[in-house]
Subunit: 685 residues, 2 copies
Amino acid sequence: MGVIAGAANKKRASAAAGLAASLEVPHHRYWAPDRRIVIEGVYPEIDGGRYPVKRRAGDSFEVWADIFRDGHDVLAAAVLYRPAGETEWRRAPMRSRDNDRWSGSFRLERNSRYHYTIEAWTDVFASWRRDILKKIDAGQAVEIELAEGRQILERALESSGRMPAQVRDRLRAGLATGQPSRSHPLLDEGLAQVLAEHGPREDVSCYFRTLEVFADRPQAVFAAWYEMFPRSQGSDPTRSATFDDCIARLPEIRAMGFDVVYLVPIHPIGRINRKGPNNTLNAGPEDPGSPYAIGAREGGHEAIHPDLGSLDDFARFVARCRELEMEVALDFAIQCAPDHPWVKQHPEWFTFRPDGTIKHAENPPKKYQDIVNVNFYGPHREALWTALRDVVLTWVERGVRIFRVDNPHTKPVPFWEWLIREVQTRHPDVIFLSEAFTRPKMLKVLAKAGFTQSYTYFTWRNFRQELTDYLTELTETECREYLRPNFFANTPDILPPFLQKGGPPAFKIRLALAATLAGVYGIYNGFELCEGTAVPGTEEYLDSEKYQYKVWDWNRAGNIKPFVSAINRIRRENPALHEFLNLRFWRADHDNVLFYSKMTEDRENIVFVAVNLDPFEAHEATLWFPIAEMGLSDPDAFEAEELLTGAKHLWRGSPQHVRLDPKDNPVAIFRVAVWKHVDYRAPNA
Amino acid sequence: MGVIAGAANKKRASAAAGLAASLEVPHHRYWAPDRRIVIEGVYPEIDGGRYPVKRRAGDSFEVWADIFRDGHDVLAAAVLYRPAGETEWRRAPMRSRDNDRWSGSFRLERNSRYHYTIEAWTDVFASWRRDILKKIDAGQAVEIELAEGRQILERALESSGRMPAQVRDRLRAGLATGQPSRSHPLLDEGLAQVLAEHGPREDVSCYFRTLEVFADRPQAVFAAWYEMFPRSQGSDPTRSATFDDCIARLPEIRAMGFDVVYLVPIHPIGRINRKGPNNTLNAGPEDPGSPYAIGAREGGHEAIHPDLGSLDDFARFVARCRELEMEVALDFAIQCAPDHPWVKQHPEWFTFRPDGTIKHAENPPKKYQDIVNVNFYGPHREALWTALRDVVLTWVERGVRIFRVDNPHTKPVPFWEWLIREVQTRHPDVIFLSEAFTRPKMLKVLAKAGFTQSYTYFTWRNFRQELTDYLTELTETECREYLRPNFFANTPDILPPFLQKGGPPAFKIRLALAATLAGVYGIYNGFELCEGTAVPGTEEYLDSEKYQYKVWDWNRAGNIKPFVSAINRIRRENPALHEFLNLRFWRADHDNVLFYSKMTEDRENIVFVAVNLDPFEAHEATLWFPIAEMGLSDPDAFEAEELLTGAKHLWRGSPQHVRLDPKDNPVAIFRVAVWKHVDYRAPNA
């Protein structure tokens, strides 16, 4: 098997042109007569139903649509929905809002994929009732109309076998005789209500697509991540730390307030072409290599590096995390070291060159000699895809429910869509984080295809306008429906210039932004120590853990662990910060000050954050609090408690002045309590 | 058959909930491995491919999409398209623009429905070539790469059987030996071009939808309509005029510059409950009734009112129109008079009440006693729908290719979608105009469902902001792709207050707006005479032709026929006015002055229109001509010829002053000629 693919590819080529036609909904089904009622403009719906939207289990899910038909008859509609695996549709009533727009909602009771669509129908009795009332009011004769209404009622009674006896009785009562007036038994309001539920429905029309919403567990929406290299959690710089060393660190990580401990790959590391310190080409015999060069004679993606411990040790690590109410996230990096067992066991999964050597990863002229990529489209595609899925399922069985996926954008999108669905169909609680630091459309399509969370460009957005623009895109354009950001302030690959140059104030600023802008955020260890030394002119850490053992002094001078703890505590205590899409920006009269809010829907919890984006100098700014949105009307007063210092203010009116000094604290987080204004001139109002 | 439907409806109700599922594209087809290349964000595409877009035959059709895949390989893509009835896809190359966005275009050669979709693939040779060039430039060894390139070339040669001999020769030349450098025969630029066309393609992926574009004939996009009551084209107020009277009027209508003569219904008129003058309930024996109460013992929708003449007379009318390069548009109004032959022949198509009487049309408490509606959803639905389609086809056979459809929003949308497609599949040149003066979403969905043109709210938009807003919606939101407005300045049902009150200046203003804002526009006869007398407090014409014979003096004092002729001549002579979507509004420093332009794409024809929207008073305004958009750069001069007066101006710079006096002429139409600025300091530039 070489770079030149064989028959499989040719077959694909000839088949592709015919595919579109074969996948089409037959057009004649669109104008089928059983779609008399127009149902369109459905929200939410991504790419015409191509992709699911994302929501949180437990939340209410609102569905909107334009619903109308010819003529003037009275319509009714319902959202039809069912969790994956169920065959019966449940129903949530919709109601007309304005200009033919309807909405309805249902609760996403559990962590599951749901299907939903919309059904609408003509309410025969309500149409009849509205018309006869207009005629009665206009003084017209309505005897025949009453006979027609009686027929409708009789029709309802015909099919009343399954109805409760009291409903049947209520229907029968409508058949009593009466004068042709508004007080006729047929026109009774209670009867109308019964018939809205049990009366005849005509023109029953269904939206022509079934849509999907995936309800993730709450931890997919709100969590603080801590990333670490397990082998560098010990105290001996000449050898690997163990899971026991990692376990020893967990209480401290928990004390800082983190929810997820994310481990870079824990598998055996290849020896062929192993990288040395600072990404050099020839590793010495003691160099551990990059954990992203996965696989050696000790095993591949399902094995654990023997230096870290055994599967049992790993199990203890997972258990200890659980005791501390934390979760483990593992790295899923598909590339293999040249000595990964699969290369010998399944050479058909790899690409070999005309000279018989295996093809290394490359991005010419750059070469990645220590890894080889699987060929996702070789003739044994199915076996390979299944094996990769089973790697994930194996770790799921070992208690891992979160996977951070390395470079998903260098693997086929359909593969991810397939794999994530395969896993989540069995385990809807599994969370996938996409590390697609790449072009925006690829970043987004991976989120659409199923990734629960996404790394974003946040890591490189430092200034007010670019932060506002980017967050506005994430919270107010369509991607809000499917892309859930995980704001990492740094990663083993990214030490941004802002952190290299800004010292501890910069670390505080970036931590506060990540933790209060997004619901899910993370740091890579060393951040809390304000580690900021880079390979000059790059965003790479100097002496990076990626290529060597490292020993950290977790309590070294200049650390900001108390600040990290405080931020995570504030996040935990304020439900408004558990959301992402409730983010709103407000006016601050200084270009270096970013001012924004998050509020719970009931406005019981209102948080404002003001950040001085300049790590060097103190700035003063007037913050313009949005009086109307806070639920108080000027001149009402409000109490603002700064949660980092505990200072309380009794403020009145929109503009309020602050000073943010990076040396002291570049961030202010105000929790607002609204003091209701009582007008004593109207004490009973 | 009564208001209570029987088994058919119950069956519908129970089937509907299952429909959505049965219509779905199976989700597993979305992430099929043969979709490695992501193709999304396709433009144009309405409601996820649910509806066709509209274009004009002869025009170039641009298709855009986001196209990308994992990794860094070189992609190529093509638009696949075919007119209805053909099975082979034609191909138009796409090219990458920016940020993974691609576009390609093809010519809509004929008046037909077209299907289109997108195919993309990995260009194996181009990917290889790009990479080896980078390696050569970096001084890396490339012997194995050259062997790989040779393999690709051999693969191309394997399948070269169908290629021209010179292509095969060109490919073979690449197999010559050479040094591993940029000058190696495999790296020849010409060879690369041949392989782009004939080289191996991998990952061939097709967009998962086939989309539709309907290419209408040009008259669907540009035409001036003249509406008239045939029976009122004569000189005797006591009896119906004939088609011969109508024929006599055609030269005058042509002289005014109209392209389409639209006749209100020409069928026999019912006698039962016939309406009298001014919509009174009891017609006298000589009253002709409303032509919209269709059908009597003389025949129904396929018959001609005997007072107008015979089928032969009608044929002569059609032929005479054709001689004068005009077309006939007929009214298609589905309601029936109670004595329509169908009521006896097909009682199953109508609704009867419990007392055995037929149900009249009504919108309670309003009653329309002279018409009855067919029941589109009775048990004989198919026969009824077919009969209605055949009415249209009958008139098509009689030479009519344009149908103005009366109140389509009171008939089911699926019916129209079916009927229009049935007709246009046989006769793509048939144009349907939707008279849906109703809520916006219904108005729009009828356009989506297939109506070629739509009546709009233009008739009630008088002031600058509302005109600008509405036209911006029509030209710049998604409806531009499917809704083609036909701006009627008045109709037999609508004499707007602006015309009632504004006198001849108002008629000039509205005519100029309709004719220069939209590509297709129309007036209802009497407009050119400035007929403005309404039933007080309504928009109804007093003594409306709808209910009585009328004799017009077509040359009566105060008519604006010369103005109408001039406007239509200007339209005809200026290609920029043949379009609609090229409309742009510009700044005018007076709230009563609307200022806009239309330009051809090549800017060979540039027209600016300034309209004083106030029919009472003269206003002066500074018009701000958009220098950059006109293709000249300040301080270039431009010649502006006012086309109604012939006055010429040599203007320089953006702001220019005009005075528009409704008594004289409330409208100025400037054709701009750009005088190219020559810098004599650089005479050869």
